[in-house]
């Protein structure tokens, strides 16, 4: 398994744009250490739509140049210590967004259009700090009607964890459709799965309904409990104690290094 994950990690090259899912949607924590060992840095992370432990650890490991996100936190375990420190020190560039703007950018990529419009945002500093977004006057309105245009977000790679995959590379994402949205938008998609099943997930209409087809999946590897310490819906809950242990340790750079040298490698 470890060598499989290392093989997957080697697809990541310096400077790539990498899309990662929200805590509860299937974070491939199993890939975090292989990504760090692989060492490709200067990454642009896109959190879909928010980030947590994995993002914090990649930042702590020095692999991240820029984070585009609606939030980064450890949820019940508090703020994301390495993220917060890096932002305050100006060591990473932060592109603050709002959840539906991330979804909108991925949707634009999915549809092959340069932008999609989005309501809200006007008058916020989120918008004021995003020179890459535009405001136009809605061409369909009689009177003035400003509306924001969000440009397409085109990740080089999406990485996530799912409950199961089949031998053909179809992966079951259930109702976590944001994982499909990430894969549609991304050039490549790397998936870890709790288990590899022998049945064809597309052969049965019930499982097909929750399946992302192999057309979008570049590589799959088995990784039991691959979301830990995050939970995986229908499989296991979040290990909040583990998140808190990390949160406490990673308050300092040394604490982070010590934690990564022990707990994660174990």
């Amino acid at each position: 398994m470890t060598s499989d994950l290392a093989r997957l990690a080697r697809r990541i090259r310096p400077g790539m744009t990498v899309a990662l899912p929200v805590d509860y949607a299937g974070v491939s924590m199993a890939m975090t250490r292989p990504l760090i060992d692989n060492g490709a840095g200067d990454l642009h992370l896109i959190c879909v739509p928010t980030g947590g432990l994995q993002v914090d650890q990649l930042i702590g490991a020095g692999l991240v140049r820029r984070v585009e996100t609606s939030a980064v936190s450890l949820g019940e375990a508090g703020g994301a210590p390495r993220f917060n420190a890096a932002v305050k020190a100006g060591r990473i560039e932060i592109l603050d967004a709002t959840c539906p703007a991330i979804h909108a950018g991925l949707m634009a990529a999915q549809k092959g259009v340069p932008f999609v419009p989005m309501r809200g945002l006007i008058g916020s500093d989120v918008l004021a700090r995003r020179p890459d977004w535009r405001v136009i006057d809605n061409p369909f309105a009689a009177a003035g009607d400003p509306i924001v245009l969000i440009p397409a977000l085109c990740p080089d790679v999406a990485i996530f964890h799912v409950p199961m995959a089949d031998r053909s590379g179809n992966v079951w994402i259930g109702r976590r459709r944001e994982l499909a949205a990430m894969a549609y938008a991304a050039t490549e998609t790397i998936v870890t799965a709790e288990r590899i099943v022998e049945d064809d997930l597309l052969a049965d209409e019930t499982t097909a309904a929750g399946t992302l087809p192999a057309l979008y999946v570049t590589a799959v590897a088995e990784a039991p409990r691959g979301a830990w310490p995050y939970g995986l819906w229908g499989a296991y809950p979040t290990d909040t104690d583990a998140l808190k242990r990390y949160a406490a340790a990673a308050r300092t750079e040394d604490g982070f290094a010590a934690y990564m040298g022990s707990e994660v490698a174990a």
């Binding site: 609606s70 020190a89 603050d96 916020s124 003035g144 499909a180």
Partner: protein
Amino acid sequence: MSPALPREILIHTIAGLLDGVRHVAVGASSPIPAAGAMLRRALDEAAREVRLSILGSVRHNFFTNGSAELFDSAAQGRLDAFFLGGGQIDGQANVNLVGTGDYPKVDVRWPGSFGSAYLYFTVPKVILFREEHSPRVMVDKVDFISAPGTSPPGVYRPGGPVALLTSRCLFGFDRARPGFTLASLHPGQTLDDVRQATGFGFAHDPAPPTTPGPDAATLRLMRGRILEELAETYPAFAADWARDLAAHAPEGATA
């Protein structure tokens, strides 16, 4: 029965603010808003269905289209109420979930704006809920506007703030003025307490009323069914509430 606890006043007040809603969403770490919504649902169940979405929950998730569906349902007018907090809230109802000091190299960094810059515009009843009511939270002007409290004419905005609920009081929000109006003081709070704890000006009666607590039947409902429902999703908060109840129980009623 012992008198209503502070958190029970909050839960009951939220249920009142949610009067008439069909669908309310609450954040994953928001037990008090969730309890308020559960109370609303219980109070209305004879008359109509109140739907409650708890973000990130599997059990209280009736969405099937990923995390974008909450925002889409708001866009479609299918989400009536939502709660927003904020590291800072100012007198114009601007909220800041990003940090203090000069952006981007802020002094204190909070997680980020989440969906606020969208839902604040599109959900008709946004309830600002922040228990800490101090001058560092209730500021004259936020350092970063995650989402503005009001918008100029011509900006599409079917939604916005209707109230600000804190551990001290309940404010209404007047979008036209714009500004907050003190609606009621929670038991034990004075107008002066609130003035000193608040960094922004607000309108008020000379003698503001006290936030009403639940009647006995409602309180029984809260301590029975609502506490039980809440425990499924927020076990730590529910246990804490139950401990509080045991501590405040009248003599002879304790086990």
